[in-house]
């Protein structure tokens, strides 16, 4: 517990302290030159800068695409597998398997799949589209300045849909058979059983899935780094900015970006924690 206090909360405090100084150069980082307390100055500068706004916009877009994609696909798979069928185990493994691959490794493959050449020089997915006669689907993928980051959400969706499926499948299995029977006895159609009996019981699962995927999305870094490069404007997100600042000895801005990310995650997670806590308390 002491270790937690020092190495987690202590360091978070140190991070906030650094982010409130003007520690922007190597000399200040080593203490050769003094640093001055500037309060929230770094935050204001960052939030006002066009580059950081672009990163935040990218992060939002990435999160939305990633969340919607994994939730929709994961839920659909779970629903399809929910009814007992032959070879269910195989499907489950196949869908879940991409999660076993690291983001870095899959990023290397997806960098090639998402090659932005079109026409004669096309490679990867664009080439595939040509071969099956869907030429109009060719696009520059992550090199599009506005929507590029959404293309990087594709591999992320590919990797984590199976996980969301597993969560939902567990949720489906957690609904006692008696409830369904009772619904059917009351004359509900199969759809109505889903709509009024099963789906409402899945909402805690959906909420946890949202939280897990959502916070993973905010931390997105490795996948982006292995497909793109830190200096590529089209795929910048705050985590990449943090890395770039750190590499150029700008510790104060780096810490400020880290703090902003922490605050965003906290805004997402804390209401959920309060919600579950209340429920547990009332359940007792």
């Amino acid at each position: 517990m002491i270790l937690m206090a020092v190495f987690v909360y202590g360091l978070i405090a140190a991070n906030f302290a650094t982010s409130a100084t003007d520690n922007h150069t190597a000399a200040q980082a080593t203490g050769v030159q003094p640093t001055v307390f500037v309060g929230i100055g770094n935050y204001l500068d960052l939030l006002a800068s066009e580059a950081f706004q672009h990163s935040l916009k990218n992060l939002l877009l990435y999160t939305v695409v990633f969340l919607v994609g994994t939730m929709v696909i994961g839920f659909t798979w779970a629903w399809l597998l929910e009814r007992p069928m032959r070879g269910e185990g195989i499907f489950r493994s196949v869908y879940l398997f991409p999660m076993a691959v690291s983001f870095i490794a899959s990023g290397v493959v997806w960098r090639w799949l998402l090659n932005s050449n079109e026409g004669e020089q096309a490679l990867g997915l664009n080439r595939l589209f040509q071969m099956v006669g869907l030429d109009f689907l060719q696009n520059p993928w992550w090199n599009n300045i506005t929507w590029g980051i959404a293309a990087i959400a594709l591999p992320a969706i590919w990797q984590l849909s199976g996980y969301v499926m597993a969560l939902f499948l567990a949720g489906f299995r957690g609904v006692p058979e008696e409830l369904r029977e009772a619904g059917r006895m009351d004359g509900a159609s199969e759809w109505q059983v889903y709509r009024h009996v099963i789906f409402p019981q899945l909402s805690p699962v959906a909420l946890s899935a949202l939280i897990i995927i959502g916070h993973m999305s905010l931390k997105a870094f490795d996948l982006i780094m292995s497909i793109s490069k830190p200096s590529n404007y089209q795929t910048k997100v705050p985590a990449v900015d943090m890395y770039v600042f750190k590499s150029s000895f700008d510790y104060a801005n780096s810490a400020a970006v880290g703090a902003i990310l922490l605050i965003i995650v906290a805004l997402l997670v804390i209401p959920y924690l309060i919600h579950t806590n209340r429920k547990e308390a009332s359940g007792r």
Binding site: A51, N117, Q121, S247
Partner: protein, 425 residues
């Protein structure tokens, strides 16, 4: 609850113990071999593969011969074209655990380390080893910061070289032996190539685009005004910079669309394969041609970026003496080897670059290297931007960001120039 407490305490003690023993190991690292006063010299580089590794091994052989009292310890960190090594180095220096000597690009990239008080002044060693007489004055001027020198270069590379595929040029009706006089003439050739359906100019990710940008700036501004960009004498918002940026924009319009997904070897490979006519890259690219048995003259031609003839866009790897190095005598011995004629010849024969010393015999080197040695001796030496010779890291980062934004269509030329001017402060 009590049980949890016990487990947590036990875990805490366990971790504390590992931490201690870890610390002990770390301390042992520097002076290992160690109890007898420390003969180990840890040489920290990112030379972990290819011609760079062969070069390091050649240098190690010379070191063992010249200084048998010391033991070479390879501290190479692989990955990310040096970025992994630089990150680790940054952490180690900050934690007060420097290697005995580390590799860094010579020039302004050292500014941060110098300002942070992490490097020793090695000017005295220059006199002691007689380096002041054998390094060109241009180079020494570029290495000197406020009257002091902080590193010893092991080699010299050139950044402003065009590599071209003669077969592709001929099929576009261009004489491969004729070098365009300036960027405008080159653009005419690029148009001719593009008309044949081949990618006219191959380029890769942001840093190679910055490499292209710097060569255009050299070509359009000339050596003096180009150097002025870095010392504040040339105005970034000026009209001649605008012309250069317009040229850069035009050149980028001839490039492959998947550039941001590639690194330099893939872009150079396009010239080797004949899917692109030209590529601008530093002269380490020559190794890519030679490794594949492509002959200079028939398989590829090289010339300075049109308009930048007479300028030598220089970058150099160099070695330093960090403050608090565990074995400063060993590090000094290493620096002596790095600067020595024998060391420079052995290293550069293996790596494909050229010696920083002017007294090496050109006959020991390959045909391309001989031409580079000749230019190095006669041309104006100007610092490369993309490779840390011209600016501190933060400035280069700002230029890279602005360039990426511009080439992906996130800003127009006027905004780009404003951002470059703002980066210059």
């Amino acid at each position: 609850m009590r049980r949890i407490g016990v487990v947590a305490t036990a875990a805490a003690i366990g971790l504390a113990l590992t931490a201690c023993s870890g610390g002990g190991d770390g301390g042992g690292d520097g002076g290992e071999g160690g109890g007898d006063g420390g003969t180990d010299v840890e040489v920290f580089t990112w030379w972990a593969a290819g011609s760079e590794l062969t070069g390091l091994e050649a240098l190690e052989a010379v070191f063992t011969e010249q200084h048998p009292d010391f033991t070479f310890v390879n501290g190479a960190v692989a990955g990310g074209a040096g970025s992994a090594a630089k990150d680790l180095l940054q952490t180690r220096l900050q934690a007060g655990d420097p290697p005995d000597t580390f590799q860094a690009h010579a020039g302004a990239e050292l500014t941060d380390y110098i300002a942070a008080g992490q490097l020793e002044d090695v000017s005295d060693l220059y006199t002691e080893f007689g380096l002041t007489d054998v390094f060109p004055q241009d180079l020494i001027d570029l290495l000197t910061v406020d009257g002091s020198i902080y590193s010893v270069p092991s080699n010299i590379h050139r950044s402003n070289v065009v590599w071209a595929n003669p077969t592709v040029l001929e099929s576009a009706g261009i004489d491969p032996a004729a070098v365009p006089a300036d960027i405008d003439a080159w653009i005419a050739d690029l148009e001719a190539v593009q008309a044949t359906g081949v990618t006219a100019l191959s380029v890769a990710t942001t840093w190679t685009q910055v490499n292209l940008l710097e060569t255009v700036l050299m070509a359009d501004l000339g050596a003096e005004a180009y150097i002025g960009l870095w010392n504040g004498e040339t105005d970034w918002a000026g009209a001649d910079v605008t012309t250069a940026l317009e040229h850069f924009e035009t050149l980028m319009s001839f490039t492959n669309t998947d550039r941001d997904g590639l690194d330099w070897p893939e872009a150079t490979q396009m010239v080797i394969d004949g899917t692109a006519a030209y590529n601008v890259m530093g002269d380490w690219a020559v190794a890519a041609f030679e490794e594949q048995g492509v002959e200079r003259g028939t398989g590829f031609v090289d010339f300075p970026v049109p308009g930048s003839d007479g300028q030598f866009g220089f970058l150099a790897d160099s070695f330093t003496l960090p403050v608090g190095a565990p074995n400063p005598d060993g590090a000094t011995a290493w620096l002596e080897t790095v600067g020595s004629l024998e060391g420079q010849v052995a290293f550069n024969q293996a790596k494909g670059s050229i010696p920083a010393r002017t007294d090496a015999d050109p006959a020991d080197f390959s045909e391309y290297q001989q031409s580079a040695i000749e230019s190095y001796a006669s041309d104006a030496i100007v610092p490369s931007l993309a490779h840390g010779a011209a600016t501190p890291i933060a400035w280069l980062t700002a230029i890279s960001d602005a360039t990426s934004k511009f080439t992906t269509g996130g800003s127009d030329l006027a905004t780009y120039q404003e951002e470059l001017a703002a980066a210059a402060g």
